[in-house]
């Protein structure tokens, strides 16, 4: 598989804290990669650097051969790298459907298919359908159709997570970064949500990187695991091998168990 995203030698320090130390990873197209590590290990920093929220002190990020290291988040989004958030970032005063329509409007505008001088809105790029239909299609796919006219503010936790991810799908991302897609979701819901998300994402065709603390979820859904510790990648392997790695057991899954206990 060709490499779609290539991070090379990323370094980032916040004062005395090293959030990334020579982090390098080449992500293959259409792969599903799980990022694991204790809190503060550098997973979210890695995602934040890819999506342009923070700029690495050193190193470069290439997306399909193009250097995206210094681009702002909106430009990176326009190129096809979208992200969801650990705490869902929604438009709480709008309905679920309106949330989707805002996103689709941005996509249409960026594609110059809608605006003041357009007689009618064009079809959404990548979907070939009008915005309303794409919104309904995605809400259906993420199991949110019943919530369509509800305000985003009053959604249950799992639905908020799903809407956050559905919002990233409007731009038809080539790469999707999911920051803890199952955090704050009940243990029973976790697998269902991940399954639904990955089914939806695969149907639309995207490479996925997801941050996850639950090792069962990781081993079931990831094809490859990047284990972070202290701003470094200490293991990069398929899930079984990575989770069996001695360093990972000591610093990640072990640390995770003790963290869960308090």
């Amino acid at each position: 598989m060709p490499v779609i995203l290539d991070a090379r030698g990323l370094c980032k320090t916040f004062g005395a804290v090293t959030a990334a130390a020579e982090v390098s990873a080449a992500i293959e197209k259409d792969s599903v990669v799980g990022l694991i590590g204790t809190n503060g290990a550098g997973k979210t920093t890695f995602i934040n650097m890819i999506t342009g929220y923070i700029k690495p002190d050193k190193g470069a990020i290439e997306y399909e051969g193009r250097d995206i290291t210094s681009l702002p988040p909106r430009d990176i989004t326009r190129l096809g790298i979208c992200r969801s958030f650990q705490i869902p970032q929604l438009y709480p005063s709008l309905t679920v459907h309106e949330n989707m329509m805002v996103g689709l409007g941005i996509v249409l505008r960026n594609a110059r298919r809608a605006g003041f001088f357009h007689r009618r809105e064009g079809d959404v790029p990548g979907y070939g359908k009008p915005a309303h239909e794409v919104a309904d299609h995605l809400l259906e796919r993420f199991g949110l159709a019943d919530y369509s006219n509800r305000n985003a503010q009053v959604l249950p936790g799992g639905a908020r997570k799903l809407l956050d991810i559905a919002l990233t799908m409007v731009a038809k991302p080539r790469i999707l970064l999911l920051d803890e897609p199952t955090s704050g979701v009940s243990a029973q819901e976790k697998f269902g949500i991940m399954q639904m998300v990955l089914d939806a994402v695969r149907a639309e065709g995207a490479t996925v990187l997801f941050v996850e603390h639950d090792m069962e979820v990781v081993s079931r859904f990831a094809q490859r695991v990047l284990a972070f510790y202290d701003g470094r990648i200490i293991a990069d392997a398929p899930p079984q091998a990575a989770l069996a790695d001695e360093n990972v057991r000591r610093y990640v899954s072990g640390g995770h168990a003790s963290q869960e206990s308090h």
């Binding site: 909106r74 438009y91 709008l94 309905t95 409007g105 249409l108 605006g115």
Partner: protein, 312 residues
């Protein structure tokens, strides 16, 4: 209310005013014209308010529009009412385009107070400027229309009809803008700017555009007010003038592009009546009216016309 119904309602109001206008008494024409002028400013404020931004300094553009219209007559000798409005729009729009680079970075109280400060700078400059009449301001030439000077008995009607037509067009332009992706972004910017950026849009750009549109509307409103009153002075830039516009916007609500004009008319009526009934305590009546609106109709008077809540 759907767009077609808004267009239809606006069209009916325009037709009624154009046809029935000549039968209105002069004072009523004056009040209606001023309501159009102030309604235009409130329409711009509504755009900003939808994005969660309250400008305490819209008088800056109102006053700039008025002085641009006045200067056109004073220094160029042109008093065509449409050219006056164009001059007001250009002066306000160009200024807002430049200041927008600064203001679009700020939100909340910082945006509000910075806009207020800028309007007070203009006030200060005008007060010190002898050529523009200092605190006294100056008189505006009576309006002409495409080179024709209407007779004194016709002038009020000509100005009112022009105001109605221009307001109609601008309201429909804004109505269309509200349906574009950039226009629809307003509540999203108010709710969650991070998400807006991560969906590929620039919130700052969107705010800048809204700020310029609001200024152009205020500039046209200022030019209209100038030619209606026949006199301009620096008080048009004073912060209490901005306060009036916010009052109207809150009174009207942000639900529809016709609302700001209705709000301005009602504001004018309350103010005139209150002043008539008790010249010393009219502010008290205005304050009470605003208080009642905020408590009982937090979404403004327009919410009375909404038949269904969005989330039953």
């Amino acid at each position: 209310m759907r767009r077609e119904r808004t267009t239809l309602l606006a069209g009916v109001i325009l037709a009624v005013l154009l046809v029935g206008g000549p039968f209105l008494p002069q004072w009523a024409m004056f009040i209606v014209t001023i309501a159009f002028a102030q309604g235009l400013v409130a329409l711009g404020l509504m755009l900003l308010l939808r994005a969660g931004l309250v400008s305490f300094g819209q008088a800056l553009y109102y006053c700039l529009g008025a002085y641009a219209a006045g200067a056109l007559g004073r220094f160029v000798g042109v008093a065509d009412i449409f050219l006056q409005m164009v001059a007001g729009a250009l002066a306000a729009g160009a200024t807002a385009f430049v200041l927008g680079f600064l203001l679009a970075k700020y939100r909340g109280i910082f945006f509000g107070l910075l806009s207020l400060a800028l309007s007070m700078i203009l006030y200060g400059l005008l007060v010190k400027n002898e050529a523009l009449g200092s605190t006294d301001g100056f008189n505006i030439l009576p309006s002409t229309l495409f080179g024709i000077r209407p007779g004194p008995d016709k002038l009020r009607y000509v100005v009112m009809a022009s105001a109605a037509i221009v307001s109609f067009v601008l309201a429909l332009v804004v109505n269309r803008y509200l349906r574009t992706p950039l226009g629809r972004l307003a509540p999203a910017i108010k709710d969650n700017e991070i998400r807006v950026e991560y969906m590929g849009a620039s919130a700052r750009y969107a705010v800048h555009v809204k700020y310029v549109i609001a200024a152009v509307l205020a500039g046209v409103g200022g030019a209209l007010a100038a030619t209606t009153v026949g006199h301009i002075d620096p008080d048009m830039a004073f912060w209490t003038t901005s306060g009036e516009f916010i009052f109207i916007t809150i009174l009207a609500g942000t639900g529809n592009v016709i609302a700001p004009f209705a709000g301005a008319l009602i504001y004018g009526a309350i103010r005139t009546t209150a002043y008539d009934l008790s010249p010393n305590t009219w502010q008290l009546s205005l304050g009470t009216a605003l208080l009642l609106i905020i408590v009982f109709l937090p979404e403004g008077l327009w919410s009375l016309f909404k038949r269904h809540a969005r989330n039953p």
